[in-house]
Symmetry: C2
Subunit: 189 residues, 2 copies
């Protein structure tokens, strides 16, 4: 739980007592490579803070084709948020790409923490802000970016993920063919 | 400013004194059709709450092609958030599609309000949450949705905008050709 405290204290300072309260809402879960955190149709009970490992979240279309919405590594938060905030069943899948530890937080706990501690409401707002900006950028990249530009942007923003994630998933995430991606890998600017 | 109070009080109740404080951070601006709220290269000083009118926010690529990131109507918040939160120059354009009134809020004011009033931090967190979920859905739709499905989803989510916005912009937003959109209009399910 030290990692949780460090993570939160990058944004707000907590007293020992406050942190005891905060941590009481989190449950640690270990996940093996290829395991699912959640699958379409499951109740989206938790939001996840990733302590270690890598995940990908994707939508599976009628033809069984994966569309990757997001990757997440250490210190990232991840959930099928439409389902989580709406307390509905998931429409997305989250699967583990490297053995992982995550902290699970229920919506009820998130809201209670936010209501009780202004600091935690601030923490969650700051985190959402960063996520919102990243998503706005991703929408622009999907609308307007050519493969070269998407590849460069991904490498600039997530150099760590670039090295750890198999190329076929990066190609999927970027919406480019594997051939195009291989060409970009071998001819970086 | 009554509309501002009503809008905020959909989420949190404010005392008269609190509302006086809140409203001191907002400045009213009237915008005519075809006017820009912000253009690429401008300092992204404000976030906008739209009281009336319709706007579209778009990215202009090197070839001068518009890529619509978002529409916004009454009671929506809008900004080039990457630039606004990062206090940088805008990379997006926001233009008025029907005569409008907006309330402008500086980042400094937003942060001060959030720090001073837990209720306002809560308000902004709830708003961001809704925006985050809408964006996650848009990403999925861009990745996986076929034109028919995107069109239906847009009509379901935003029936009001569907009637008010010229078809060519809806086609752009959905990433479909105008011919495809016309076909969908004339053959709704």
């Amino acid at each position: 739980m030290d990692r949780l405290r460090k993570h939160i204290e990058e944004i707000v300072d907590l007293s020992d007592e406050e942190f005891e309260y905060v941590k009481s809402f989190f449950v640690l879960k270990r996940v093996k490579k290829h395991q699912y955190l959640i699958q379409e149709g499951d109740q989206a009970t938790f939001e996840y803070l990733i302590l270690s490992g890598i995940f990908r979240m994707f939508y599976l279309d009628e033809e069984g084709k994966e569309h990757i919405v997001q990757f997440a590594g250490e210190n990232w938060w991840m959930a099928d948020y439409q389902a989580y905030f709406g307390e509905k069943k998931a429409t997305l899948h989250i699967t583990c790409m490297a053995d992982a530890e995550v902290l699970c937080l229920k919506l009820e706990g998130r809201e209670k923490l936010s209501a009780k501690l202004h600091k935690m409401e601030h923490f969650f707002r700051v985190k959402l802000t960063k996520g919102y900006v990243a998503q706005q950028r991703r929408i622009i990249s999907l609308l307007a970016g050519n493969p070269q530009r998407r590849y460069e942007e991904f490498g600039r923003l997530y150099p760590h993920l670039m090295q750890q994630i198999p190329k076929k998933y990066i190609a999927e995430y970027l919406g480019v063919s594997r051939e195009t991606l291989s060409r970009l890998y071998s001819n970086p600017k």
